[in-house]
Amino acid sequence: MQWTEKYRPKFFGDIKGQNLAVEKIREFIKKPDLKEALILHGPPGTGKTALAYVTANEINAEIFELNASDLRNKEKMKEILRPAIEQKSLSKINKLILVDEIDGVSEVDRGGLTELMNLINISSYPIIMTANNIWNKKFSAIRKKCELVQLKEIDYKTIKDVLIFILRKEKNFVDNDILTNIAIKAKGDLRAAINDLQVIAGMEEPSILTDERNKEVDIFSALRLIFKGKPTNDVLKTFDSVNMSTDEIILWIEENIPAEYHGEALARAYDLLSKVDIFKRRIYRQQYWRFLLYENIFLSYGISSSKKETKNLGFTSYKKPTRILKIWMNNQRTAKKKSIAQKYSKYVHVGEKRALKEFPLIKKIILSNPKIKKELKLDEDEIVYLKG
């Protein structure tokens, strides 16, 4: 059985990392008259559908699920929906209508969106919709009718906690580093992380690096050839056998130039790398892929020829580029900074950007008085961030 199914949350308390959204939904179902509709929106794997099912469970309702193609079929809609929405008095059971993935509903396509609007207007049952991107223009009419609830990318610590929880239940064990790696790689998508975990936990020797490790062997010998060898025409073909995109190779070279080159060789090599970067932008801007050829030549032969003599023949241990990961992790951290600035700016009538600019001062002020933390309704994570 898929773990994503097995460990699907049942109650609000089971939902991890989406406190704000859960709070909003509790408010929504507390209202006595459940006529409005609700849209849960956010990136894949953040718990939209799960949250809809949990909501149904919490209010003892039966889920009535529709998808985009059902909406397009007018006859079918009539057939299915009319009884469901009009005969409320006949059955005592609550119903909750779930329209999953409304991104798939197209505006031109035989009035799928119009039908959805009708549904919202006439339904006497609460409606929950899910969407990845609710800011699409085609949804502007629907947005007005609905309460929007945003689900955020789940931060990697929360993902890791869930993974550990599942492993305990399964009486299984996976190395801590690998867990961290899965959690970070998932980029906020909990479902993807759980799926990865199930695959890895099932392996004899758990390791997610199998695929990446092979790549690394290739890149290591390629780097050695370029940095230590003489520039020959063979060097031009170095990257043919490396199963890696040019953009990734750029990062590897960037990380490791200073391990091999110094002084003038260092400056020449970086100058070439800087030109590679300019070609890279030209490719993106003009979609002229032939420029890739020059990138390749500079990265291999060019970097190799940057040195005057080959004297550093000993072993050099090349490092894996970590810059992108660090930037990503930093963004995770500053996400907290942003959410604090958001709360602060609403409260003191100032723009968010301004609050971010003044953040060092604001941080001191918030920390100076516990009452302010309460006033701003900062959560545990945000306070930890401020103290850290």
Binding site: A267, R281, N330, Y347, E352, R354
Partner: protein
């Protein structure tokens, strides 16, 4: 509940309490007393009382119902003009509560909107003119398109003078049982650059260290609040330690979230303080200019900055 954040706690709630904007206050107060106001445009630097005045107006007009009749938006934070329009639409749909026949929408930093977006805003202002009054705020009125300016009464806010800032500081010092030296007041005024919000924030964060505020304490707070300098990075590079130079640079950029172009600017200024020959300074400036150009042309500023740091390593070798 009284806020513990001083910018809120000491926010003026009456026209007479606002410092430094006497002319504006007189005119706006008489407008407000007539119970009918036109659209308003507040132009002036940050921290001079624009949001405060908007809040005073709504509280005067609606008394205890002000929250229901007031919408505050910040143009630079919302996701574009469409979101602004939608929020305005939702808010304007219902009638105002009480005797005043309109509601008030305060759009802060309206000059962050592009001219096209301002055109759309103008339409919105017209559509809801029977039920809503707009108060727009901006730093420069010239950034607001003429059709909007002509629909608003314009008020210009001045930077606060030293005597105004001093008044604000003294009031807070007294209420919070603090002491302050004249030099510290001078320092806070300098650091605040006439921005009253920043002045109060400076005062509160300094007071979190000690209740007797001195110029030295204020200086510590001010230097903490400034991004750390690029000098250390260049010192590493000149001494030939490229690895540390780039690590430090990356750190600074991440922590302070500064862009590649900002770094280049800082480096360019720092060149003149380096212990190298004049001709090398010129060479480095040329390299810096080239790096700035390549950052604009290229895709990854950090690669361009590393190339620049490598030139500083060479400069350290006298080349």
């Amino acid at each position: 509940m009284v806020s513990e954040i001083w910018t809120e706690k000491y926010r003026p709630s009456k026209f007479s309490e606002v410092v430094g904007q006497d002319e504006v206050m007189k005119r706006v107060e008489s407008l407000t007393n007539s119970l009918n106001i036109p659209h308003l445009l507040f132009a002036g630097p940050a921290g001079t009382g624009k949001s405060t005045l908007a809040l005073i107006i709504v509280k005067e007009l609606f008394k205890e119902n002000w929250k229901e009749n007031y919408l505050e938006l910040n143009a630079s934070d919302e996701r574009g003009i469409n979101v602004v329009r939608e929020k305005v639409k939702n808010f304007a749909r219902t009638k105002s509560l009480g005797t005043i026949p309109f509601k008030i929408i305060f759009l802060d930093e309206a000059d962050a909107l592009t001219p096209e977006a301002q055109q759309a805003l103008r339409r919105t202002m017209e559509n809801y003119s029977t039920t809503c009054r707009f108060i727009l705020s901006c730093n420069y009125s010239s950034k607001i398109i003429d059709p909007i300016q002509s629909r608003c009464a314009l008020f210009r806010f001045k930077l606060l003078e030293k005597k105004d800032i001093e008044k604000v500081i003294q009031k807070i010092i007294q209420r919070e049982n603090l002491t302050i030296t004249p030099e510290a007041i001078e320092k806070i005024y300098e650091g605040s650059e006439g921005d009253c919000r920043r002045c109060i924030n400076l005062l509160q964060s300094t007071s979190s260290i000690s209740p007797s505020i001195t110029a030295d304490l204020v200086s510590t707070i001010l230097s903490d609040a400034k991004p750390k300098d690029i000098k250390v990075v260049l010192d590493y590079a000149i001494s030939g330690d490229f690895q540390n130079a780039r690590e430090k640079l990356f750190d600074v950029m991440l922590r302070e979230s500064i862009s590649g172009q900002d770094v280049v600017k800082a480096i360019q200024k720092e060149i003149w303080n380096l212990p190298v020959e004049p001709e090398i300074k010129v060479k480095l400036t040329e390299k810096t200019g080239e790096a700035e150009f390549r950052i604009v042309e290229g895709s990854d500023p950090f690669i361009q900055l590393q190339a620049l740091l490598a030139s500083f390593v060479l400069a350290g070798l006298g080349k």
